[in-house]
């Protein structure tokens, strides 16, 4: 820091003023490095000294030019945004949010490809298998137990996709910038919801499209929506107390137990998607959302996790 006791350097010029500030002193003034008595004395001197004012004007321009040049060069060093970022900006998202979203660890191209692959396999399985005639059980929304069995891989996998995405979005292993992000103020609830939202959208949209390719009834995407949302919100609510990865594994295990348990008890896994299943999913969704809102302050990366 500048020593305030430092005496101004004096140039003996031809002007009527008794002293002139040299270029170094003026430069420090321009940069805001001059404080206290020295700055005040220069400011008192300037109105009466055209020579120093001229010197200052020249420096001001030079400093601004240098600053502008640096900013322009920095902007030129930034690579142009990719298509996902441009798309997000096109729908009106501020550029910083678009940037944060595209850098969610579980939104990498490899992750999205894996999602498509898993869904493809589930859809393919349903297409290849024919309805199982030997299965008895309640029909749900006109979907027989036999048809439900061939859709089982798909029905089970879809709610698990966003869970895996959530776990990956907050994983120290998958995010090389985890520690840096944690120590930044954006790492709290905002970043959490941004990433979680991005994961849900990028898992649910392909899943719902894939559901349309299934041999089952056309309303299949609709019955998947509520259970999938419920399991996802349950994961996020549990993340207010647990590590998101642990919460995701727990919620996934609950989901598998529920589908398999109901399937065994009532004869058809489709029951999990029937009226009863939808009501239970609705309750879980509401309770989970309530917990999430009430405890949102606890949602963040790092610290006590």
């Amino acid at each position: 820091m500048t020593k305030e006791s430092e005496a101004p350097r004096v140039d003996k010029g031809s002007s009527t003023a008794t002293w002139h500030a040299d270029e170094q002193l003026l430069a420090r003034y321009v940069q805001g490095d001059l404080h206290g008595a020295l700055a005040r004395s220069l400011e008192a001197h300037l109105p009466d000294c055209p020579q120093c004012r001229n010197g200052l004007a020249g420096l001001l321009n030079a400093a601004r030019l240098a600053h502008n040049r640096r900013v322009v060069l920095t902007s030129a060093s930034l690579p142009p945004p990719g298509w996902p970022e441009r798309m997000l900006s096109a729908v009106g998202l501020p550029d910083h949010l678009a940037r944060l979203l595209v850098l969610t660890p579980s939104l990498r191209r490899s992750w999205l490809l894996a999602t498509v692959l898993v869904l493809g396999v589930a859809v393919g399985t349903a297409q290849v298998l024919s309805p199982l005639s030997g299965v008895r059980g309640a029909a749900v929304f006109g979907l027989t137990a036999g048809s439900a069995m061939r859709l089982l891989p798909f029905l089970v996998v879809v709610p698990l996709l966003p869970l895996a995405g959530v776990a990956a979005a907050f994983s120290r292993r998958l995010d090389p910038m985890h520690d840096l992000a944690v120590a930044a103020p954006m790492s709290g609830v905002r970043l959490f919801f941004l990433r979680a939202g991005a994961v849900l959208v990028t898992s649910l949209v392909p899943a719902l499209f894939a559901a349309l390719l299934l041999p089952g009834p056309s309303w299949l995407p609709a019955v998947l929506l509520l259970p999938t949302s419920a399991v996802s919100v349950m994961t996020l609510a549990a993340s207010t107390a647990l590590d998101p990865a642990v919460a995701a594994v727990g919620a996934g295990a609950c989901w598998l137990a529920l589908v398999c348990g109901l399937g065994v008890a009532l004869g058809s896994p489709a029951v999990a998607f029937g009226y009863l299943g939808q009501i239970v999913a609705g309750i879980i969704l509401v309770v989970g959302a309530g917990v999430l809102v009430a405890r949102r302050g606890q949602l963040e990366l790092g610290w006590a996790r």
């Binding site: 930034l78 910083h96 954006m186 610290w303």
Partner: protein, 320 residues
């Protein structure tokens, strides 16, 4: 060498008294402990860090990184209390306030593989809540100039040398003009010239932020730090100025033409003579003025060469 009047070495073990480096405290920790499985990383650490530059010295595994991670709100302690810039990191809202005023350089700088230097800094600026694009670019340009990285702004980070990558890490810590800089081994991998530039940078930072840095380079501490903390096996063993640390070795540094086999630590200097640290058992050695490194070696010497912790309690002179 001017003899300091009151060296303040050594942690008393667990009496709960903070070791004041000099008020007011930017960072205050009391009874801070942290374990990783069976390993005790920090053992009831009490500290009060003043404004200015504080250097954290200690061998590998002494707990430096754990302490800095806790100060940077990346890790939480198992026990004890911590106050950073007057805020309590245990409280969510206060933790965010700390992060708004913090610049953190972790030991390992993480980045996405495809990141270019300016792109990385731009992303970090977003995480530091500099949301306006124009402001962000001006801030990125500012830290690029400060860390002398303008020439590599458009290069991929992974293509840079270790030293340049370290400077990228330092640059991101400076984003947003933080009030507190927590730097974990900022000079690791820097060549002597770059270390000198780092010292210049640290001395000329606008706003004079408080700095806590860990290092293995004792000469960095002697050159830029007003305060030194020595951590050994998770405990604070010294707090004070570099001069006071050097004073710990007063009367315990000797030179001789031959190595004294009984000496605790000895090495041959550039002048070809042997420098010994410890007692002058042979009585044939000449005393010399100690350096900061001598003081540190007096405390940590046997740790550094693999000796047991209990065998090197600092000597009676100047230690207590």
């Amino acid at each position: 060498m001017k003899r300091p009047s009151a060296p303040r070495p050594l942690a008393d073990k667990g009496d709960g008294t903070a070791h004041d480096v000099g008020p007011p405290c930017v960072v205050r920790v009391a009874g801070l402990s942290r374990r990783y499985g069976a390993t005790v990383a920090l053992d009831r650490v009490d500290l009060c860090l003043s404004p200015g530059v504080t250097g954290l010295l200690g061998p590998n595994g002494a707990g430096k990184t754990t302490l800095l991670s806790i100060l940077a709100t990346v890790a939480s302690p198992d026990a004890g209390h911590c106050s950073v810039l007057g805020f309590d990191p245990e409280h969510t809202a206060e933790r965010v306030e700390i992060r708004r005023r913090l610049g953190f350089l972790p030991q390992e700088l993480g980045y996405h593989r495809h990141f270019k230097v300016a792109e990385f800094l731009d992303y970090m600026a977003i995480l530091k809540e500099i949301l306006d694009r124009g402001q962000r670019r001006a801030e990125v340009a500012r830290v690029l100039a400060l860390a002398d990285l303008e020439a590599v702004a458009g290069k991929r980070i992974r293509s840079l040398s270790g030293g340049t990558r370290r400077r990228v890490g330092i640059a991101q810590a400076l984003l947003g003009q933080p009030e507190l800089l927590v730097l974990d081994e900022p000079t690791a991998g820097l060549d002597p010239e770059l270390r000198l530039r780092f010292r210049e940078l640290l001395s000329s930072l606008p706003g004079s932020p408080a700095v806590v840095l860990s290092t293995h380079q004792v000469d960095d501490v002697a050159a830029v730090c007003q305060h030194v903390v020595v951590l050994l096996a998770g405990q604070v063993r010294f707090t004070g100025s570099p001069t006071e640390l050097a004073f710990l070795a007063e009367g315990r540094v000797w030179v001789a033409d031959e190595r004294d086999p009984a000496a605790e630590l000895a090495w041959r200097g550039a002048d070809g003579r042997w420098r010994h640290i410890g007692e002058n058992r042979s009585g044939r050695m000449e005393p010399v003025a100690p350096t900061v490194e001598d003081g540190y070696l007096c405390l940590a010497g046997r740790n550094a060469v693999g000796g047991d912790d209990g065998a090197h309690e600092p000597g009676s002179r100047g230690a207590r």
